[in-house]
């Protein structure tokens, strides 16, 4: 596309998604003083913040503190939030091309990676992503049912999400009530008969993806002992050599923490959280009625590839772990967006430094950008999205200066609210969110927890109408 004159100011940017990547990008776009920018952020949920609200565990409130800086970004006069607006259904790529110069997709990774083994869809087998969304009050998951009458649970994976799932299953009722977990989840978990949670790691302790603070806090659970076989806590020679070579102190600490757990005798707490390393599931076993009865696993050994990576190779030894509830926690996965090229194998929108690529020509598509997990895959922590978004926004400004943008026929700011109203889309503004936020926190203060979340769109609407009526009356 031939470069033309830079677009008439201001630069109108649409951001699809409202999680950390979206807000870090909005911050980079709005906090510079050279180019006037207007940002309209769209999310299919009425509430912003993505996985910070619906993914970060309810007992990890400090990680959620990042939303304070997001709220500050939202105060910018050229920022608008349109919640309850679904890309593809309520607003399309053609609409964005008509009304904006650029679109940034920051839609994250909305679904789960599958294990690809027989029995994966038996009753009682669930993606960890669904359980996490359920205990975090995500409106689309609040009605999910998990059979917590099972005594034995297997969580496949040893990342931080797997640890969250295991920990939430092991929290005492008192520990649960002190968090912002919704009442329906507190009830279900308080009445659970879960006794043993097995976490399965395909490789060894040195390759596990969880981080030290998350590992350490397991030792403080009121109702659960952490159990680990000493032989599975020990490093194999290849991992030991790699650890020594790397001088990685965080890794050394992780290995030490695991060894401590292996040496600790159980104290007789009602639950056990059992780490298993060098095992991989090969099949979920049917109880004869279409439900999970157990997980057949193969023991692995580690081998070193030419690249230096230590990868898992199955041995001929198998084992069955009894379990009536299984959570696969082997990663999130991106979901394709209508009209946007998607790399199915990697689950991302193919890009170069954030510029969306046309898959047939390998050239950037002018005006289209990505940041966050839909750009680089589901890895890293909340803050990892900041340098990621800064990088994409730099590309956006470079291209805008050269006129490599959409050529919007109707860039006027009021076109979007008009369009949404014409389509009867009942969107939520950021002010609506601030009112909901205040109501949630007030309810939490009364109940002795951080907040009481609204878990349905209709509840949110009713609460806003009622609070409006109260303000009008008072």
């Amino acid at each position: 596309m031939a470069a033309s004159r830079p677009p008439a100011h201001p630069l109108r940017v649409a951001i699809v998604g409202a999680g950390p990547a979206a807000f870090f990008a909005a911050e980079s776009l709005l906090r510079q003083e050279t180019v006037p920018v207007e940002v309209d952020m769209f999310d299919r949920l009425p509430t912003p913040y993505g996985l910070v609200r619906h993914g970060v565990a309810p007992d990890h409130q400090r990680i959620k503190a990042v939303t304070r800086s997001f709220a500050q970004v939202a105060e910018h006069p050229h920022f608008r939030f349109f919640g309850n607006v679904e890309f593809g259904r309520d607003i399309t790529l053609d609409d964005l091309r008509t009304h904006f110069h650029q679109v940034l997709f920051a839609t994250g990774a909305q679904t789960d990676r599958r294990m690809g083994i027989p029995g994966e869809d038996l009753r009682g087998s669930h993606p960890a992503t669904a359980f996490v969304a359920w205990y975090n009050g995500h409106p689309d998951f609040r009605d999910h049912v998990f059979d917590l009458s099972q005594e034995h649970v297997v969580v496949v994976g040893v990342g931080n999400v797997a640890l969250d799932v295991a920990r939430i299953l092991c929290l005492s009722p008192a520990e649960l009530r002190a968090t912002d977990i919704p009442a329906y989840a507190v009830d279900a978990l308080s009445n659970s008969r879960v006794r043993e949670v097995h976490l399965l790691g395909r490789r060894g302790p040195a390759q596990a993806a969880f981080t030290n603070p998350e590992l350490k806090e397991l030792g403080g659970l009121a109702d659960a002992d952490v159990v680990l076989r000493p032989d599975e806590a020990d490093l194999d020679p290849l991992s030991a050599a790699a650890l020594q070579q790397s001088g990685d102190r965080a890794l050394a600490r992780r290995v030490e923490l695991l060894r401590d757990y292996a040496c600790r005798p159980p104290t007789g707490k009602p639950r056990r959280l059992v780490f298993r390393f060098l095992v991989a599931p090969v099949e979920l076993l049917d109880d004869g009625f279409g439900a999970v009865a157990g997980v057949r696993v193969v023991r692995n050994r580690l081998v070193q590839a030419d690249t230096g990576t230590l990868s898992a190779e199955p041995t001929g030894d198998f084992e069955t772990i009894e379990a009536g509830l299984v959570f696969r926690s082997v990663g999130y996965r991106g979901v394709p967006l209508p009209g946007v090229p998607f790399h199915d194998r990697w689950g991302v929108i193919l890009n170069r430094v954030g510029r969306v690529l046309d898959q047939s020509t390998d050239d950037p598509i002018p005006g289209e950008y990505v940041s966050g997990w839909i750009k680089r895959g589901p890895s890293g922590v909340v803050g990892t999205n900041k340098p990621d978004s800064v990088e994409t926004v730099a590309a956006m400004f470079e291209d805008a200066a050269l006129g490599l943008t959409f050529q919007p026929a109707e860039p006027a700011r009021d076109a979007i609210p008009t369009l949404l109203c014409r389509r009867n889309v009942e969107y939520f503004t950021f002010d609506d969110w601030l009112r909901l936020d205040a109501l949630e926190c007030a309810a939490g203060a009364a109940a002795g927890c951080p907040r009481v979340k609204f878990t349905s769109v209709s509840d949110m609407r009713a609460a806003l109408q009622s609070s409006e009526a109260q303000s009008a009356a008072g």
Binding site: A65, V66, T309, L310, W346, V348, L357, R376, G383, P387
Partner: protein, 141 residues
Amino acid sequence: MKMATVLATKGPGVFTTTAAAPLTDAVRRLAANNIGALIVLDSHGLPEGILSERDVVRALAAGNAFAGTVGDLMTSPITVGGPNDDVESVLRTMTARHFRHLPIVEDGRLAGMVTIADLVHAQLNEALGAVHTLETQLMGS
């Protein structure tokens, strides 16, 4: 961090050549595209070697003319990676064995290439991200 994370933002395009290609063309392409290496593909489209600026400098130092083919000068065999490789392990290997380019093969096809600069950049961003997250938790905003 897995190699797939680095690949996702690199794009699948790789500058390639074959062993039979004339060296003069290959060197011209390095200059024209301002790149450091061409991956040499075999008859199955899989990496069998690499022609890098280091090979060119070696030839110049030995006083060799560029009359022959890529196959005469290329470094072969070549280490090949996959999307599931650990970035940390690969970086250590590339540093220890002094190579800077790693072609990535997936499902029997060339899926991309990463350089040591790409890996360092990815690690740096991950470290910056971890610092930001921890600071937020410690400072509460």
